[in-house]
Amino acid sequence: MVLENSEADEKITKSTVIEISDFCVDYHMFKRSRKKPLGEFEEYNALKKIDINISDGEIVALLGRNGAGKSTLLRCIAGLLRPSKGKLVTNGRVILLAGADPGFIAQLSGRQNVIELALAYGISENELPDFIESIEKFADIGEAFDRKLSGYSTGMRGKVGFGFITALKPDILLMDETLGVGDREFRKKASKRLNEFIKRSGTVIISTHSLGLARDICTRGIVLDKGGIVIDSNAEEAISYYINMTEKS
């Protein structure tokens, strides 16, 4: 996915909005073995000694192989995962865009879902009509918008969900490999909307395998490998490093 030209570079760096120091994350997984037939919890190290400072207005690409710890790091910044060590401070409202389900209720229609979720995501009643209209227009699913969500296809659900999340106004936006839904036409439309969303958000961290996306819009690149940072530099340098790293293996 290639986004349109971004004005991100012009953003003025103000202050640190994400401060991560000496940060480690361990997952605790239940494992049964022949020696321990009743099972036991085993620790799995997902992130080790992460130190990052991200300033207001930065657009950061998080690169790395599958299992490198990108999603774990994003979930930590969103306050959804507990570290085993270290400290993380965020300043501002954090929204995690992972998948396209903000928390839909299957028994309600698309419109009802948008109304109820909007209030739960802090959209005021005054803003609500415009908010609904923007999602309805973007999703473009016709009369299905007033049908129950349980009858939606995955693509239709994704359109409403993506439209919803990208209509919010976060200070810090975390994106985890989004845009896996919809047809070609939708993806094009979604790219445009995503670009607008990124511009509207103060600080953005994008976990992606799309180097084109990283090159086009990111001002900084961080490459993760086996839970640790291997390079933290400008986007171009980080991308080159990542390409070399993956080609070697």
Partner: protein, 271 residues
């Protein structure tokens, strides 16, 4: 707002603004509605089933007892079964409370106070729905005294909250050792038949009576029956023991709600 994350906590610094408080209220409403919608699902009668359920189960046992020619008062059965089912359901909900600490909102972290607020509201409404239908039947069909009906509704609330509190204390252990859920199910099944849910305590004797004296449920159900002018042993039971049980149960519910923040944080990396 600044948020600080360490291995011990995930907390926001500073006082909540009026907007944040309003957002929390909206989120509580959302979570509450979502829970009840999930319960009613596609059922035609929706939440009415929560009212009907204790009535239908009581009627089934009444039928069984009539076949067995057992002479147990209808009111005694209605009260016993309703309170026991409340105990059972609330305990299980408490044990499962750990399963979803996101509140159903997937793109943003929800404050713990929102989760606790919605849990308390849900418990209160659930307790009411499960006891309201039976209370109405007792009042209209069996001409039960009003003081008895009010006591029954209050005891239903109490027993629901206290059982959920016990369940919440067991939740971390149940997450580590899921087998505990099976064990609790067997215990509940045994207690259903062995405790005075289906019959008054006075119908028991010897070791059966002694064991029931050590069971907190006995005190609640016998109190409810006493105020409904039914056969009850509450005045013959040791009130100090009742006080002790109340103390333990209240302590467990306070602990249950107070550990939610720590627990939801610790659970995030368990799988």
């Amino acid at each position: 707002m600044e948020r600080v994350i360490t291995s011990e906590f995930c907390k926001e610094v500073g006082e909540l603004s009026p907007e944040a408080l309003k957002l929390d209220r909206n989120r509580m409403k959302f979570i509450l509605k979502k829970k009840f919608r999930n319960l009613s699902g596609r059922k035609r009668l929706g939440l009415v089933w929560m009212v009907l359920d204790p009535i239908v189960v009581s009627l089934v046992y009444l039928f069984v007892f009539s076949v067995l020619s057992a002479r147990t008062s209808i009111v005694t059965i209605f009260v016993g079964i309703t309170l026991f089912r409340l105990t059972q359901n609330s305990l299980k909900i408490g044990m499962n409370s750990i399963k979803d600490f996101t509140g159903g909102l997937k793109a943003e972290r929800v404050r713990t106070r929102v989760l606790i607020g919605s849990m308390i509201r849900y418990r209160s409404i659930d307790n009411f729905l499960q006891s309201f239908g039976v209370a109405l039947i007792l009042l209209i069909v069996f001409d039960a005294p009003l003081i008895g009906i009010i006591s029954f509704l209050i005891i239903s609330q109490l027993i629901g909250f206290l059982s959920e509190g016990v369940g919440m204390n067991l939740a971390p252990l149940a997450k580590k050792v899921p087998d505990l859920i099976n064990v609790v199910n067997y215990i509940l099944m045994t207690l259903f038949f062995a405790s005075p849910a289906l019959y008054p305590l006075s119908a028991t004797e010897g070791i059966h009576y002694k064991l029931n004296e050590l069971h907190p449920f006995t005190y609640f159900v016998e109190t409810a029956r006493y105020f409904l002018n039914e056969e009850s042993e509450i005045l013959n039971l040791d009130y100090r023991l009742f006080g002790f049980f109340i103390f333990i149960l209240v302590a467990s519910i306070i602990r249950g709600y107070s550990i939610i923040d720590k627990l939801r944080w610790r659970m995030t990396t368990w799988s």
